[in-house]
């Protein structure tokens, strides 16, 4: 089995959202900041403000950089390797790491390519956000 996240009070909205097909991200409530925040935090890492609220991100983004994992870090990924793994900047402005299923394994740079979130089976009662190429 693939490694599973530990769901805490802090991260529960993200993982419950994923199970429901929604990409949930935090945002700083201070209007002077209003940054999107990921991974989940107890305070805004930009302004240290105490109020963060969860919102549903549109799910669009672009690839910052990517790799093709051929020697996975965990036996749970052995059957799926090689696969494309990327840093994705969502349009609201936060970096999320995810697999890019169906992307070409080699031969072209995917940097800057548009992607859209999807949710795939990851384990018992667990869906995982991935991103798919849009063009």
């Amino acid at each position: 089995m693939k490694p599973q996240p530990r769901v805490t009070e802090l991260t529960r909205p993200y993982w419950e959202g994923a199970n429901d097909g929604r990409l949930m991200i935090q945002r700083c409530e201070d209007p002077a900041c209003a940054k999107a925040v990921f991974y989940p935090r107890v305070c805004c890492p930009y302004c240290q403000g105490s109020k963060l609220t969860w919102f549903r991100a549109a799910g669009n983004g672009s690839i910052i950089t990517h790799t093709t994992v051929r020697r996975p870090h965990h036996d749970g990924f052995a059957a799926s390797a090689p696969y494309v793994f990327a840093a994705v900047e969502i349009e609201e402005g936060a970096c999320i790491y995810a697999e890019i299923p169906d992307a070409p394994l080699e031969g072209e740079s995917l940097i800057g390519r548009r992607v859209m979130v999807d949710f795939v089976h990851h384990g018992p009662q667990r869906r995982m956000p991935v991103f798919r190429l849009q063009d």
Partner: protein, 386 residues
């Protein structure tokens, strides 16, 4: 300019042979490297009243139980929690403790006994963000994380696989002169380019080999150094920075640009006054980022620097004169002290076949893999006392 570490001297260095496997515990490795460093200085454990230890595999033990294990009554303890940045940071903390009169003789040591799978298991649980938001997503371990940085560096600056290859080949050339290094045969460009793919664009020789080993140095008060009578080094400056730049993983994966100005100003010297650099070489891209951040070459030009500069022990600007982690091996947290060991050994004039002509050199550290990058960067400039 008076060093902020006035009154402190480095007098010895020790290293175990690096091995793929060993039955030795980290306590044994720390003891062996520490003993070698003390012997190098002309001291023994009875004089030690401080310990700085870094080891991922040490828990449930810690630096206090290491003191107990070795029978040391300590007035100063430091445990490195910053991964590969901890060697330089531990050295600086030890120097402050000696300067302030808390203690007189400190062994700064790091050890681990890793292989590929235990290294991956440790990294999977390294911290909350990796455990929950990188590992389950399939990040590919440290190899995958730094493959992301390598591809971005190549795209931004036009670096090629051959540029990283030149760097790795030079380090292998240096390692062949280091009897403790794990790799014993030369690396060719064809070997490098055609090696087993790991996480594109990284192949086998871009990735450090987790292994077993330990490194140590000994710091003493100036008074003790005088009594010993042998060669000694001073720390001109030592800096650390963490989470720099905050909230931007892909501006640069290392923080050295945020500490370099302070480092050189406090040291009272510049890059042109350095005779070598011992860089933290978990992946060649991180050495490129360090060379740029530390002003060894302008931003975005490290790949051109390694095309034009011989960085072997025979070259004009030697880098990682013992082969670094890429060719000596990465003994876990000892990866952050191998450069400190090598810098001290070179400046004391005890590097044997790989000795470079030097009076002053730089050593850098990097570690604490977190959400997309290592959070902790460190660097120091050491000088031989004339």
């Amino acid at each position: 300019m008076a060093s902020v570490f006035e009154g402190v001297r480095i007098v010895g260095a020790g290293q175990t042979a690096y091995a793929k496997r060993s039955p030795d515990t980290v306590q044994k490795l720390l003891y062996v490297a520490g003993t070698a460093a003390l012997r190098d200085a002309g001291l023994d454990w009875s004089r030690v009243d401080g310990l700085a230890v870094t080891s991922f595999m040490l828990p449930p033990d810690n630096v206090a139980t290491v003191a107990e294990h070795l029978g040391i009554e300590a007035r100063f303890l430091f445990q490195g929690l910053y991964g590969g940045a901890s060697g330089v940071i531990g050295m600086a903390h030890a120097a402050r403790a000696i300067r302030d009169g808390s203690c007189d003789v400190v062994v700064v040591a790091a050890a681990d006994a890793f292989d590929v799978s235990s290294h991956n298991e440790t990294l999977d649980r390294f911290n909350g963000s990796v455990r929950d938001f990188m590992s389950p997503q399939g990040f590919g371990g440290a190899n995958g994380m730094f493959a992301l940085h390598t591809r971005l560096y190549m795209e931004r600056h036009g670096a090629t696989r051959e540029d990283f290859g030149r760097f790795c080949i030079a380090l292998r050339t240096n390692a062949l002169l280091n009897p403790n290094a794990l790799f014993k045969v030369p690396l060719t460009m064809a070997d490098y380019l055609n090696a087993k793919p790991i996480a594109d664009p990284l192949r086998l020789y871009d990735c450090v080999l987790p292994c077993v080993g330990a490194d140590a140095i000994v710091l003493v008060s100036e008074r003790i150094a005088r009594d010993l009578g042998g060669p000694s080094l001073r720390i001109l400056a030592s800096e650390e920075i963490h989470n720099h730049p905050a909230n931007d993983v892909y501006a640069t994966p290392g923080g050295w640009a945020g500490l370099a100005d302070r480092l050189y100003a406090r040291a009272g010297c510049g890059v042109r006054d350095l005779h070598f650099a011992q860089l933290y070489d978990d992946y060649p891209v991180m050495c490129f980022v360090q060379m740029e951040g530390l002003g060894i070459c302008p931003p975005g030009t490290a790949h051109r620097f390694v095309r034009d500069t011989d960085i072997t022990t025979r070259g004009t600007f030697p880098i990682n004169t013992g082969g670094g982690q890429l060719s000596a091996g990465q003994a876990g947290a000892a990866g952050g002290t191998i450069g400190v060991y090598e810098a001290v050994t070179q400046l004391l004039g005890r590097a044997g076949a790989r000795q470079v002509k030097c009076e002053r050199g730089l050593v850098a550290g990097y570690g604490m893999i977190a959400y997309g990058r290592g959070l902790s960067s460190s660097a120091a400039i050491l000088e031989r006392v004339q």
